[in-house]
Amino acid sequence: MALLELDDVSVTYRIAAGEVPAVRGVSLTLDAGTALGVAGESGSGKSTLAMALLRLLPRDARVGGRILLDGEDVLAMKWGRLRAVRWAEASIVFQGAQHGLNPVQRIGDQIAEPLLVHGLAKPDSARGRVAELLEQVGLPAWRARSYPHELSGGQRQRIMIAMALACSPRLIIADEPTTALDVMVQAQVLTLIKELLAERGISLIMISHDLSVLADVCDRLAVMYAGRVVEHGPSREVFHDPKHPYSAALAAAFPTVGDPVSRLAPKGLGGDPPDPMDLPPGCSFHPRCPVALDVCPTLDVELWPAGPERRAACVHVRPEKAEPAETTLEVS
């Protein structure tokens, strides 16, 4: 059954200059024990969406639609219930591990804090639990006595994961958990995340701009552009055979070493991300799209079926019978 269900979720920021639609009608489901990757560039709304899941957005953001966690609408929850849900059922690992930790508090105390706050452990039993958590993330128990500055970037990211695991949540939301980490440390952290998923049946929502990392860890992938999901499906398939040109650009951005096609031929996407307050008409991606057609600026794209369990919001996968009156398209 679905652990998390997003139904037409939208987030709008109200600023002095007007309203900024950051997320525009996103519907996704996450089955228990699976991992969903959300990909997109900065400004695509992926981080906003993650924050919206636990209602962590600033006050000037308005969230619409429904976010069902275990059938319960997060947006309708009372404050006390929401507090219990954050940590105990779903917890979040932020990017930039160096800012997520209190520099003047010992690691152990920081990990134990949610346990004590939620009454899940007594101060004396918390110590054992902290040691257990540290071991789970591959750190020795004596690290509990360290301060954040005594740890390396990779170790701090492990601590963040240990903190997220503290209350045994069923869902972890990880926002760029490996950005700014070295390849080797990134591999260590990703291996750890994969082990935790496999061993403890935790569900994961992972957010990144690196499609290759997401494809490696997640079962399914959703690619976001300008606040909308433009493609989703099984991660390997989306990565290796993207149906939306934007997914294709993201997939090509990180080359496979040894692949002669990408040798001395870096692939990028021209143009700049759209201004959310002034989105292009029709398909928002059309000004940057390498395979745009004449209809794209006027076409209302939606997520059309694009293969088994796959959907993409691109004119090139639009089913024939949904074709309006205009001329037949040459799909290249």
């Binding site: 560039e41 970037g153 070295d182 701009h209 951005a253 040894g258 870096p266 990028g268 700049d272």
Partner: protein, 334 residues
Amino acid sequence: MTETQTPVEAVGTARPTLLEARDLHVGFPSRGRRARAVDGVDLAIGEGEIVALVGESGCGKTTLARTLLGLERPTSGSVLYGGTALEYGSKALKAYRREVQLVLQDPMGSLNPRQTVYEAVAEGPRIHGLPGEQEVVASALSRAGLRPPERFFLRYPHELSGGQRQRVVIAGALALEPKVLIADEPVASLDASVRGEILALLLRLRDELGLSALVVTHDLGLAWNIADRVAVMYLGRIVESGPVEQVLTAPRHPYTQALLSVLPESPERVVLTGEPPDPTRIPGGCRFHARCQVLASGRAAEAGVDGRCRAEPLAVLPAVPTAQAACHYAAAVD
């Protein structure tokens, strides 16, 4: 230096050496100890060549880059530009700045938020008193792909996208018409979609202007994308270097093998345990031996080199363009 013939010339490559590090050592005090950030490096960058310097953070690659730029002074050894040793007088350094330029990782931080694009790009020409400032700025911006340049003159960094900002930084470097660009993680803080565009720009600048580049990165995919040669650095030394095709498809040093194995697409993973070691405590013998998977698996013992791995330091790899690895095991099994 009495020896004028560089090893590169001896091998007879098509590209004459432009910028070179010769037996370079850079150390500085760190928490009461001495960190040997660069601990014996020979590295040559040829004219029109793009070299990727790959390694984890703390391996000394940024210190090496800064030393090549003359922003850091070597403890011993020398930096040679066009065959002559770099001097550290302020006049000599200022002249050197017109030859070798820098592109930093974080384009937002590399631009003064109070300066317009025009002022940021004109900074170099103004410092060096170049004539025709406005033409210089306009042509640098358009070469960096910001066209028409006038449209960007009066924009502020916060009004630009990440990719545009990095183009402004590159334009600022190009305005001095350097021969070499040293780019420290030029795309690490950019979005995936922009990354390829900036890398393509570096390649195009090489093709159009004959610009050489040293790209410092932890990203092997980047090396594969744009570099002619790659040098893999570990704890202050280059442990493997050579043409990209050779090093990245048939790596010989266990460290390079491990780095390649953790890329998302690779079939079998060798995740090295532990954090990158500390440049204040460089182990004896092969400096990689404590983390080496070949030594740990017993293959080094089979080849009969395990004792040497632990006890015998390796020689500094010379600055030759051919593939080479500083590894007892690789030398034994070849």
